[in-house]
Symmetry: C2
Subunit: 389 residues, 2 copies
Amino acid sequence: MTPTSAPIPQTTATDPILGPMVVLAEPLVLQSGETLADVTMAYQTYGALNADKSNVIVLCHALTGDQFVCGQHPITGKRGWWDDSVGLGKVIDTNRYFVICANVLGGCLGSTGPKEINPATGRAWGLQFPVITIRDIVAAQAKLLDQLGIDKILCVVGGSMGAMQALEWAHRYPSRVFAAVPIAGSYRHSAQNIAFHEVGRQAIMADPEWSHGNYLEEGRVPKRGLAVARMAAHITYLSETALHRKFGRKLQDRSALTYGFDADFQVESYLRHQGYTFVDRFDANSYLYITRAMDYFDLASENGGVLANAFKGSSVRFCLVSFTSDWLFPTAESRAIVHALNAVAANVSFVEIESDKGHDAFLLDEPDFHQTLSGFINGCADAHGVAKA
Amino acid sequence: MTPTSAPIPQTTATDPILGPMVVLAEPLVLQSGETLADVTMAYQTYGALNADKSNVIVLCHALTGDQFVCGQHPITGKRGWWDDSVGLGKVIDTNRYFVICANVLGGCLGSTGPKEINPATGRAWGLQFPVITIRDIVAAQAKLLDQLGIDKILCVVGGSMGAMQALEWAHRYPSRVFAAVPIAGSYRHSAQNIAFHEVGRQAIMADPEWSHGNYLEEGRVPKRGLAVARMAAHITYLSETALHRKFGRKLQDRSALTYGFDADFQVESYLRHQGYTFVDRFDANSYLYITRAMDYFDLASENGGVLANAFKGSSVRFCLVSFTSDWLFPTAESRAIVHALNAVAANVSFVEIESDKGHDAFLLDEPDFHQTLSGFINGCADAHGVAKA
């Protein structure tokens, strides 16, 4: 059964390629203290909002994700990042749920970010764009929902940086959130993860084409730096086992070593491909700002050094998910959140999924994970009185 | 008791800073099939060669190591890479042993490599230098020992890339090697490790100052690319626990986040320091060649896909060492070597050292490791009839 539709207020603009966008009515006061006016939020929705608006699922995308969750991506032509999980009859069934996903503040697919025009100067923001945080990213989403006339969220779901946003939603807007599913995430970015991000940023900034962030104004693109950043990051998304199974020491289109610096090994060719296709769809400055937002995230430190304080008296239902072979956001990070939630007697379940696919497992077709996800979300919907599909 | 000294043949040259060097009398036929003539090998020795030349320990350095094992390094002014372990009264006691360590072929501290002058052109080799392998590196060491009048080695010891060389020594020159200690190494570079090396190479090659490898001729230095390569690699040398203990999310000389791209976190500042001090002592092209040599190393594939074949009938005594928190060369890699050695009934012992310091543990003051090392080496020396110190 398709839910009865509630009307969605008119969006301010519709980009022919990127789709609907809303300009936030009020300026956003950022965590840094700076103020950002005329914030545009680009977003996508899937499914229909039901009459009592009780079937809203907010999806929060990861560092290099975007609002195009499923179906064909308008820029890359490939499937959206969660096409395996979201759609008609899928794990998050758009027959039953109204799914909304916004491009994050600071992003480069329509939402206000360093790539967009600074209204004060008429030029691309570049490094004049203020540093933003996960709190700012979620605050912008909350204001977007306000303007779309959506107050309550059945469930906020996200993996990796999306998990940080899901935690932030539950922490900052507990009365708006019925349930939260932080997947393969953390309550604070670890020293190792900050280090990997710093390598990526240094790679971008080392590229002369980056030009201190002014490349857009100068008609340049720091392709090589951004590609190196992506390559380094990409290794961290996969497990050693996955890389070994996929590539091992197999050679690329040749029968013997060439004794040179070409991509002799398939894994080299794969990495180069990952790096150089990424630059066609992502903005280098956005990469700087979003990695910085992740580095700054620390829900414990913001709450007197005690993570549990962030969730005192919370009525949000939590489901934490981690993957055994994820070494970027290992299970211990999720377990620390579970312990904090237990300490304040919050409603929390926790599943560690057996997978050898590393951090990226949350994007892939992992049956145990999908069962956990659909079981939890559908259970919440039933408890919340959302009509079945 | 200081061993009676056997005379060391005259070296061909002595550099005022880098010390003794030998030009190999015969050209080196490389694994690639190319021939390299007039190969210079720069080396250091510690302790004295005894009368029957039975107290020789060959140390093989790691990717960014060099021949300056202990004492003050002539370029950096810091202690040598194994000053904790090698010296008078230390784990490898130079009262008893004659220690020799050569800068690897392809290196940048005196041995022939891409930084040196190509006699055929009178210019720096750059990318005209042939791609070399671990086999070539060890072959050059063997020829160096020939010219120094040293036939037999009591023990060949090395960590990381040094472990690859120790295995290669034992495989290729079994009659010259009494014992071998491959530490924190592997018999073949894994897909993940090739991937990390490829990121480093891409970072160097992305730097316009690299200039297709001709930077020396053009008076340029690809500092930024090499620094990024070093930063990425450096993360892999440490465990997550070590990074967390050392830095956590501590801020660098500030009391609050600055909301910018400066090094707010100590770990960022540390990484930048690691990157930018490295470029003062290392050559970017050497980094390309030596990482390539490691990637190409695969003792199993060279022996019909069966590692055990590499050591059939070997009389070498092996001691394998790994560290629990080493994720670059995890224990499983050493264990695979032990299994292969067991399969051919070789004399092998294996110790996994409990340490949370990651791959770099082999360079550090780890008491259990040092006890293993001295126990094994001294036992070999006793069995071999080397007089006690």
